[in-house]
Symmetry: C2
Subunit: 329 residues, 2 copies
DNA sequence: CTTAAATGTGTAAACGGTTACATATTAGTT
DNA sequence: AACTAATATGTAACCGTTTACACATTTAAG
């Protein structure tokens, strides 16, 4: 490993001077700057971030904690975070929590131990205490919070939109699939949908689901049609669940969207590739990731923040699991 | 921040002793061990990994470089790597290369600058030089290599299997979708399929595709049916492309699998949720990730390695885009 | 021409750990 | 009892940077 000392020796100056040219601070004569840069090039020196981090008590690392990268909603989020952080010269220390408080705490600790400048967390468990005594900024992503900076989509509005759209398109016996109770965004969607349906004169059922895993989703789907066979509209808690419902409905020979309309939530990439393609409420996952990254960087740079809570808009994506609405009707 | 010095002061011993109890090496009296541990608990001390890393010239970090976490094949890989690394006490520094040599090199550099103990790379560009002068172990994942340790699935076998299965099930005019030329695993699949079809008396076409992106996939699909409308069997370069083909075929009103059979590659999670569900060649992505992590840790621990190249088996997943074969026929 | 300010560079002390080495005490052997 | 080995602990050097401080030289100002 080539160190700053090697560069200093080769260019005949002190390590302090080398450091100064590398960081472009303090006075340094143009000639020596050139000499040093030449040595740097020749030796292919690049500074040891660990040493730098130790002295500065700040690395160029941020911690990113997700529930599970395997859930198709999160890769987009992660990419948004990474792309934006990369622009700012930051790298990502990455972990999956599985919504497990212990694992979460473990990751949080190692983030701290590695001098990350900040943490972006998309976990949803109740163990808020995990974040209480952190000495560094935290931004919550895909999660609402009043105490901490956070970036999230307007879930309630999304739930309302979904309900309105499916009603407008003529579903009369709707089943709402309510997502896991501890996942706040899922509850917001649910509340939004509930609000709209409660004020209408549409019959509806609520079915609780307790996870977003692929394997479980098919189970709920089967259960749904076994329990409420006359359902003609499903408001799913997310696109995974919606996909499973769609799958099961097709297996049962239901024609979609004629007999059954389905609206998902998230707009994960594969939703558009289903057949029929899935109508859904889109969360701008990539943008959410970017926003979270930008917010964290602003906080880190001590910039004035107008908005500690960033709510991003949600849009209805009108694909083929919903009927076309007659705009003139 | 509470340091080892604080612990030393509180427990009335030297920092060396504290270090010894924390690392459980060297002699230390049981009584002082207890005193120190008490101080550690009371102060909630946890060692600064950065300082440790600086002295030892080795962190507890590994670099993971993927082409794009947004491609649904990779989250599983990543999860396999992470879960296994976590068991060994390692954390993941994560980056997406977009198969861009410059970005790749940039990440590689920062990995090194952060004292990672090793790197797992799933990138496929030709810039092998990027890895030439690395002073730390590298394991390639989802990529074959003779020079470096690597973990990959038996792509050629997979290609052969796909071809055999589709022929056995009666397709007569097959189109092979050949994946991007610079992606070795895609070429292996293609070679395998080519081998089998060449030796059969089945008509077939080869169509080149140059990316695995969702957006592009639908384009290839349209082009496929425009160019070869009588195709009755498609061997897709991966499940994303297969999904797009399936989508387009359904849109054109083809009945599947009666008129058209499709076999994908990878078995990404959503393939089973399509309708009809996608027949495919399964790569054990999660296991591949785990194997790569294990291999890297073995190398790091200087264990004897029997196998520097780990080839994992591939399986045919017989779903509903292929016909049932009459086993007695 | 003198003096102050600006410029340029080096020395050494941090940062928070680990460990080689020295030293002291205790235990075990003849 | 004398000597050696094992146990226990502390001091200081080191890991590769950054930066406060000191000092020397140049430039600008009066």
């Amino acid at each position: 490993m080539v160190t700053i000392r090697d560069v200093a020796k080769k260019s005949g100056v002190s390590i302090a001077t080398v450091s100064r040219v590398l960081n472009a601070n303090g006075y340094v004569h143009e000639d020596t700057r050139k000499k040093v840069m030449a040595a740097v090039d020749e030796l292919k020196y690049s500074p040891n971030e660990v040493a730098r981090s130790l002295y500065k008590k700040k690395s160029k690392l941020v911690g990113l904690l997700l529930p599970d990268i395997t859930n198709p909603f999160f890769p987009q989020l992660a990419r948004g975070v990474e792309d934006e952080m990369q622009k700012g010269g930051y790298r990502i220390l990455f972990g999956n929590s599985d919504e497990n408080a212990e694992k979460e705490l473990d990751y949080l600790n190692t983030f701290i131990q590695n001098n990350v400048v900040g943490i972006i967390s998309a976990t949803n468990n109740k163990a808020k205490d995990n974040y209480k005594n952190l000495s560094i900024p935290v931004v919550f992503l895909d999660r609402t919070s009043t105490d901490y900076p956070s970036v999230y989509a307007d879930g309630k509005k999304g739930g309302r939109m979904a309900a309105e759209e499916i009603v407008k398109r003529g579903s009369k016996r709707i089943t709402i699939l309510k997502g896991p109770a501890h996942i706040q965004p899922a509850q917001d969607r649910f509340q939004g949908a509930l609000e709209v349906l409660s004020q209408s004169n549409i019959d509806f059922h609520v079915m609780s689901t307790t996870s977003f895993a692929f394997e479980d989703a098919e189970k709920w789907a089967k259960e749904l049609f076994a329990t409420y066979p006359d359902t003609d509209g499903v408001l799913a808690s997310n696109d995974i669940v919606a996909t499973a419902v769609l799958h099961e409905a097709l297996r049962l020979g239901k024609s979609i969207p004629e007999e059954l309309q389905i609206i998902g939530f998230d707009d994960i990439p594969q939703s558009s590739l289903l057949f029929p393609s899935l109508s859904t409420i889109r969360q701008p996952a990539y943008e959410m990731g970017k926003e979270a990254a930008q917010l964290l960087m602003k906080i880190t740079n001590q910039e004035k923040i107008q908005q500690h809570q960033v709510q991003l808009p949600v849009t209805f994506i009108d694909r083929n699991t919903t009927r076309k609405v007659d705009e003139n009707g």
